[in-house]
């Protein structure tokens, strides 16, 4: 086995904690064969393995039951091939998203996802959490851009699914299935990715208002008119304002919408929004032309991740857009009752609401009240077939409130799948659904 070394230093690795738990030992295989041997050995010995990329989402999931081996994919970080004419990129799992975007930008292409991703975030880690950012509205999640994956199973079998072509129904569609599985079913080693042309032109507009329902109406009308925003969010003005958030009135809310594509089509859609927002918007819409990698939208991607405080609580609520106002009322009521301030960001049109309870200055370590409220909220959401996931939270809260909330027959099926693909439960034990 390769010793842990460049590009990850010993000090950096020894500081890694997952929900407070340290890693027994570190391994950094240089290739798939070495990785397969390592997993077969760990499986034989019943040692737990925590696969890791750039470690940007290590606090996702329930607290691990054990963490014998930390598996760094940093030694497998190559771009294997770039075929712009086929809009196809093949990379190893440890390749960073930044490197991928750089490689593709040279061909005026990109991987159309904009998740929270630091310079160290790897494609393998981002697929494991099925990452996305605000451009999900137009481009979907990472799973929608994966054509094929190579996966080493817990028992050390080197397997593949999918392929290098954009349409493929040969065998089960495991590329989609593996995305979001949090390294629970196997370790990804390589991806064939479908790329997209960079937009010729992009333009964002922001509408400020204090009335959520007015902004929600505009957001819904943008969709009802058949316009095709790349991204559309609603949030408190202070969340969206970078330069002087404190200068924004507390009650101010904003809808931010971005269009990207052919310049004429973008311009036409912007005019449509101005027209429909005109009578509703309290202020004029501020339209800004943008280049790729605009810092405004990058900041939106980072919502809930800016502070690395382990005591932040970030909720991901998957519920219809129309339910957002009710949800915010519930959050506000709890906030007032508990003295726990909160902020939020709504991906309008994606049925997604992020709610952040930032770490309090004097966090008293008492999480029972929050856990009990979350249980009630989850139960109520279930009656609307909606879901609540605890995206980030301190270990103490995760011990009181299970992160994923999967139950019933789907949970039974997922646990049986785990048993089939990782019979000794060595991969990320305890972190995924049902605390398994």
């Amino acid at each position: 086995m390769s010793a842990p070394g460049t590009p990850q230093t010993q000090e950096a690795l020894s500081a890694v904690r997952i929900d407070g738990r340290t890693i027994g030992s570190w391994r950094q295989p240089a290739g798939e064969a070495e990785l397969a041997a390592l997993l077969a050995e760990a499986n034989g010995r019943g040692q737990s393995v925590i696969p890791m990329g750039g470690r940007s989402h290590l606090d996702w999931g329930n607290p691990p039951r054990s963490s014998d081996i930390g598996l760094s994919l940093a030694g497998m970080d190559q771009v294997v091939s770039c075929r712009p004419d086929d809009m196809l990129l093949t990379v190893q799992a440890g390749c960073t998203l930044h490197r991928i975007q750089e490689e593709l930008a040279a061909h005026r292409q990109f991987l159309p996802v904009d998740p929270e991703a630091g310079p160290e975030s790897t494609i393998g880690g981002l697929v494991a959490v099925n990452a996305y950012g605000p451009m999900r509205l137009q481009h979907g999640r990472l799973r929608d851009h994966i054509l094929g994956i190579r996966v080493v199973t817990a028992e050390g079998a080197r397997t593949k699914c999918g392929g290098q072509v954009v349409k493929n129904v040969s065998g089960y569609d495991l590329s989609k299935f593996y995305a979001g599985s949090l390294g629970w079913l196997g370790v990804f080693t390589e991806f064939h990715l479908k790329t997209a042309p960079l937009a010729e032109y992009a333009c964002s507009g922001r509408i400020r208002q204090s009335d959520f329902s007015a902004l929600q109406r505009i957001g819904q009308q943008i969709l009802d008119r058949g316009l095709a925003p790349r991204s559309q969010v609603i949030a408190p003005g202070r969340v969206l304002e970078a330069t002087d958030p404190a200068g924004v009135p507390e009650e101010a809310l904003e809808l931010a919408v971005q269009f990207a594509g052919h310049p004429e089509s973008v311009a036409w859609q912007c005019r449509q929004v101005s027209e429909l927002a005109g009578p509703l918007a309290g202020e004029a819409i501020r339209w800004v032309e943008e280049s790729a990698g605009d810092p405004f939208w990058q900041r939106i991607s980072r919502f809930g991740f800016d502070s690395r405080s382990p005591d932040d609580v970030l909720l991901k609520v998957i519920a219809p857009f129309s339910l957002t106002a009710d949800l915010l009322r519930e959050c506000r009521a709890f906030s007032e009752r508990s003295g726990r301030p909160f902020t939020w960001l709504c991906y309008a049109g994606c049925n997604l609401l992020w709610v952040l309870f930032p770490r309090r200055a004097a966090e008293d370590g008492s999480w029972a009240e929050l856990a009990s409220w979350l249980e009630t909220l989850r139960r109520r959401l279930r009656t609307r077939r909606a879901e609540l996931i605890l995206a980030r939270a301190p270990r103490e809260l995760k011990e009181l409130f299970e992160v994923w909330g999967v139950e019933g027959r789907p949970l039974e099926l997922m646990l049986q799948i785990k048993k089939q693909l990782d019979p000794k439960s060595i991969l990320n034990p305890g972190r995924y659904v049902g605390r398994q």
């Binding site: 004419d85 979907g140 079998a157 089960y172 095709a228 089509s265 909606a386 996931i389 099926l413």
Partner: protein, 487 residues
């Protein structure tokens, strides 16, 4: 291949009378077919050279009847399979001897359509184009549009992860399914996914879509709807040389334009269409035509059309024509979408391949197809999704001519191998079923297949739900082990 009456009679008589009686109680006597003549319709899908009569055909009315029938069949060790309209092109709905077909066509209601949230709840027996028609007043549609969409049902589309010309821009069926209610192969009922699009935990919907009925039977689906485009332009471009048509395809995509559809029909395909009732007015003196459709907002569309024209013109086309109205557009598309049917007048049997290659290798792969046709002295036509690199060589034959049939089967195998050698795959959208099953080991290792078998065993532990499809069984029992222990 087995077509004789004796086999059909034997199949029908294989079902124990007590089971037949129970099935009649579950769905009503009028909803169980056992007469060999009635069963004939259900003995194949659109790949007619694989035929096997089922033991019975049952028409459940809902999820509970489906689940009750499945449990009864499991108790009696009787294999079963779901069937929609039988438009599949891989033998996915071919019954194994003694199987019971669970025909979904009585579950044919659109339960709800929600324009605000852009989703619809449907039963599996709803015909694809009927859903889109019903959604028209809401200016929405269900984007996957397999060529068989006037007959194919949504349950079948889901089972096969169906594609279609417009999947180039909008994605295949899997991109448009939010949630499912399914009767699993173990007889239990499960709700998978979330109507709001992001269910927690493993993506069981993603796994189920395209599983060809080997995991269970879809009895209800929540589908994502897509706005109808504001404007559409359809260009027909004819080329005297095939490689120039292929180059145009690559250059359009590489130029950063993603058309809604980008289809190619070669000379033999054009002749088949133009000699049929589906004649679309394609030019007959060309090597191939491209059908290029762009859609979106009126603003900017004309400029995109000009760019496509410019790319095409640099490749020496002999004709460029734009559909002037919806009627002309519909005619151009009818020719393309009915091209498979049009082959029927040329020969009694047609084997259609579904290989897919990276787009830039399309011209090279087409040349190889023609070389193989010549080598085996076959009539091959090509009508296919060029923008996706998804070829559909149609190999025409008459199954009564054994020598010709053998040549067709050998040529089909050669086409598959040529495609795999170019980094392609054996099925882009038709599925594996029984027809492509022999090729699965050319693509996947025993260990790849073992992952699929283990997943299947969770949903369909006794493999009585559509057995013999999609995944080849292990060659030896030892191969059910993985990794280091496997040695």
């Amino acid at each position: 291949m087995s077509t004789d009456k004796e086999t059909r009679k034997k199949s029908a008589s294989e079902l124990p009378p007590a089971v037949l009686g129970e099935l009649r109680k579950i769905v009503g006597a009028e909803n169980v077919l056992t007469d060999p003549v009635d069963l004939l319709v259900y003995s194949c899908d659109a790949i007619t050279y694989h035929q096997q009569s089922p033991a019975a055909v049952v028409f459940p009315a809902d999820t509970s009847q489906t689940a009750a029938a499945v449990r009864l069949l499991l108790e009696n060790d009787i294999p079963f399979l779901p069937r929609g309209s039988g438009t599949g092109l891989s033998g996915g709905a071919l019954p194994l001897p003694g199987s019971v077909v669970l025909q979904t066509s009585h579950m044919n209601r659109i339960l709800s359509a929600d324009p605000e949230n852009r989703m619809a709840e449907v039963q599996p027996g709803v015909i694809n184009s009927f859903l889109t028609k019903a959604l028209e007043p809401m200016k929405l549609h269900f984007a996957p549009d397999p060529s068989s969409q006037v007959a194919a049902v949504l349950g079948g589309n889901i089972a096969e992860n169906a594609g279609g010309p417009h999947c180039l821009k909008y994605g295949v069926t899997g991109n448009h399914v939010l949630g499912l209610e399914v009767v699993l192969g173990d007889g239990t009922v499960a709700g998978l996914g979330s109507p709001w699009g992001d269910a927690a935990g493993l993506d069981l919907v993603g796994l189920f879509v395209g599983s060809e009925g080997t995991l269970g039977i879809c009895t209800q689906a929540t589908l994502k709807l897509t706005p109808l485009p504001q404007a559409v332009q359809t260009l027909l471009i004819g080329f005297p040389r095939l490689e120039e048509a292929g180059r145009t395809v690559s250059q359009i995509i590489a130029g950063g334009i993603i058309p809604a559809a980008l289809e190619m029909i070669d000379h033999n395909g054009i002749e088949a269409v133009e000699q049929s009732v589906y004649a679309a007015g394609y030019p007959r003196d060309v090597a191939a035509v491209l059908l290029v459709e762009i859609d979106g907002f009126q603003a900017g569309l004309e400029e995109q059309a000009q760019r496509i024209r410019a790319i095409a013109e640099a490749n020496h086309p002999s004709v460029i024509r734009m559909a002037r109205n919806e009627e002309e557009r519909a005619r151009l598309w009818a020719g393309r979408k009915r091209s498979y049917g049009a082959q029927g007048q040329l020969a009694p049997d047609c084997l259609v391949q579904d290989v897919t290659v990276p787009r830039s290798l399309l011209p090279e792969m087409l040349e190889e197809v023609y070389r193989i046709a010549e080598e085996y002295d076959l009539h091959i036509s090509n009508c296919f999704h060029a923008g996706d690199g998804n070829l559909h060589p149609h190999l025409l034959f008459d199954r009564r001519d054994k020598a010709l049939t053998n040549r067709v089967l050998e040529a089909a195998g050669q086409i598959v191998k040529a495609c795999l050698a170019r980094g392609g795959t054996i099925s882009g959208e038709h599925g594996i079923g029984v027809d492509k099953l022999p090729y699965m080991r050319l693509v996947f290792s025993e260990e790849d297949l073992e992952v699929m078998r283990r997943l299947r065993s969770v949903f369909n532990p006794r493999n009585l739900c559509n057995p013999g499809k999609l995944i080849p069984e292990p060659e030896k029992c030892e191969s059910r082990q993985f990794g280091a222990d496997a040695a």
